[in-house]
Symmetry: C2
Subunit: 387 residues, 2 copies
């Protein structure tokens, strides 16, 4: 058992119609609001009008157009508004990208320099604006954690930001994901699963969090296909939304060996260069990484996964179960409509060398801590294996 | 999926030696401390001296002798010290009873009347003293929740207190439980399991928290016998301590049908009258309650438990698996040395009528919400069945 801290100060407010409670939840924080969102979906879905109605009388400033891989240029705009208008809090409405951007804005509002500095150096994060969220996509778990991932399009860098960035409260209404299309639902499912794999596929776990990780995986594997087939199936959407919040908050890591989150590290390189959907990149990389990491030493972890998640027979050969578990993972991603090769999303090997260098510089943890230790050559092999 | 709020603001600081970080964690809260504890075990174990050393220069006031079922008389003493000395925060060192009492003291310190009022009426809880804890027993989960259970020995009442009572931070060092004797280790295990059953054995769960509950149960069933056989087995003690924190914090209930926590309600009646160990009462009542609740309608839940926790064959008959699961639960409690009948702990039926009346008045939730709805007669039958 490894030492750990667990700190989850965000209040999750989960269920249909809970947005009505938002003005009560935010009332002690002031009435000058920076509303952040992405494209027009929150207008089509009615959430935008709902918020205007709920906050009648408040001053609402808006930052719209936050990109799926949120860019520092958008964050700079948000910081400018927050500073100029002296907003009291941020209300982020969207998925992980809107939340991630809003976290950087929350910290940037009290920082004199460029908000990208805060990505490069977390120690520069001081006071932050209170952040509230209304979640519209089940994927990154940013609604329940203290981190984000920001893209600097000028330098092709996509990097994590960490700090005192927990939302105060997140409204998680599964009905807001009814309109999420199949491909985004699938990508979100892959993201939740990848968060879980990054915690779960390590040499040393423990009974409790192994079991929690397996429950996370069973939840997504059961419900993503249902949500794709029946977009307004409340139970399926709700199970995915609940799982989303636990993927990245630290609960899955407690007491376990830490891992360098190999697929996340590599995928952020891919989407920094090609702006692909994060979950799509993860679905492509994950089975390749798993196969690359499989050996006599690591097979028991993969076999356990197969037994406890896919119901493989524990009496069967360990290596055979391990291989089956990885195949079933790849099959699942295909079944929910995700691509399995980088070539399918227009990525070739032209930036692999840069990616392998960059990820080793900026990503947290040494890739030698992965379940199969990885050097630069190994990272390149995984990328090439995904072509 | 049922609507829920999840709010877990306590910082868990888990692992060997983490107590050294306590002064840093508490430093912004002041230096007048109310140290609360039970008997002499924290002196024998060296934690008392350690705290004196860590807080050299601070003013430490002490409330010792907090009872296993903490009494309002102790709490009144603590409130008196807190008010008189104007302490800055409370440092609770012990198990659930010390923590529960300290929560009542934390709220009582800013309340003009008798602290028992705060048990009877949570709306009277206002400001509270910051509370920190050092856990020495894996059982109640009070280190990571906002509630406690207080005994009024004058009226034979043992009642829950709820409110803004989360510890700011809890130090969870598994080595502090090495000296916990076998019977208390077993009783703690039964308490953790009962917290889980009270959430898990309901008509409607969900994939994720069903899985988390099953992981909790597997964790305790695997590790309690090891901790009893090898009291200083760090892994086993650590797994129990980690599970303890999640038993009562709300995580196991999210999105599930709520339950009236039948065994906890009845057990608090037993220990209000007879001052028995809470976990012992739970171990006696739980299998009786399970058998009483088993019928054609509820059998699938018990059978699932058997399959996912004890590895029963899912292809076997549902009722047969359900019965086996309950028998295995009773066997497990026996195996770790817990009594299985009230008569073994000196309890007869002389107060059953009062208990059945009282619990229906004070306990949260209507017992008609239990997996098998229970009226007064049913509660009496369960108590009699446990004789």
């Amino acid at each position: 058992m490894f030492n750990f801290d667990l700190y989850l100060p965000t209040r999750l407010v989960f269920g249909k119609g809970r947005i009505d409670e938002l003005p009560e939840i935010t009332k002690s924080y002031g009435s000058k609001i920076l509303l952040t969102y992405g494209g027009g979906s929150i207008k089509r879905s009615g959430i935008y009008d709902k918020i205007k109605e709920l906050y009648k009388g408040a001053e609402i400033f808006e930052l719209s157009g936050i990109e799926p891989n949120p860019r520092i240029t958008s964050i700079r705009k948000g910081v400018e508004i927050a500073k100029k208008e002296k907003v009291d809090f941020i209300l982020a409405v969207g998925g992980g990208s809107v939340l991630d951007a809003s976290k950087n804005i929350a910290a940037g509002a009290f920082y004199d320099g460029d908000p990208w500095d805060l990505v490069l150096d977390a120690s520069k994060i001081g006071k932050t604006l209170p952040l509230f969220s209304v979640l519209t996509l089940s994927a990154t778990g940013s609604e329940y954690d203290n981190s984000g991932v920001i893209t600097n399009e000028a330098t092709h860098e996509k990097m994590p930001i960490f700090g005192n960035l927990w939302p105060v409260a997140s409204i998680c209404d599964p009905t807001y994901t009814f309109s999420v299309p199949a491909n985004q639902t699938a990508a979100g499912a892959a993201d939740i699963m990848s968060h879980t794999f990054e915690s779960y596929i390590v040499n040393q776990g423990n009974t409790l969090t192994d079991g929690i990780c397996e429950a996370m995986l069973r939840t997504v594997i059961k419900n993503a296909p249902v949500a794709i087939a029946e977009p307004d199936n409340y139970e399926a959407r709700a199970e995915l939304m609940m799982a989303s919040s636990f993927g990245c908050c630290g609960l899955l890591n407690i007491g376990r060996e830490s891992s360098p989150w190999v697929c996340h590290g590599l995928e952020h390189e891919l989407s920094a260069f090609y702006d692909i959907t994060h979950g799509v990149g993860l679905a492509i990389l994950t089975p390749v990484w798993m196969r690359y990491s499989l050996n006599e030493h690591t097979a028991p972890r993969f076999a356990n996964y197969g037994v406890n998640v896919f119901g493989l027979n524990p009496k069967d050969d360990v290596m055979s179960n391990a291989k089956k578990a990885i195949d079933l993972t790849a099959d699942f991603f295909k079944k929910i409509g995700l691509p399995s090769k980088l070539s399918e999303v227009g990525i070739d090997d032209s930036h692999f060398e840069e990616m392998a260098d960059h990820v080793r510089k900026i990503w947290f943890g040494d890739f030698k801590d992965a379940i199969r230790p990885l050097d630069r050559e190994d990272l390149l092999n995984i990328l090439k294996g995904a072509l």
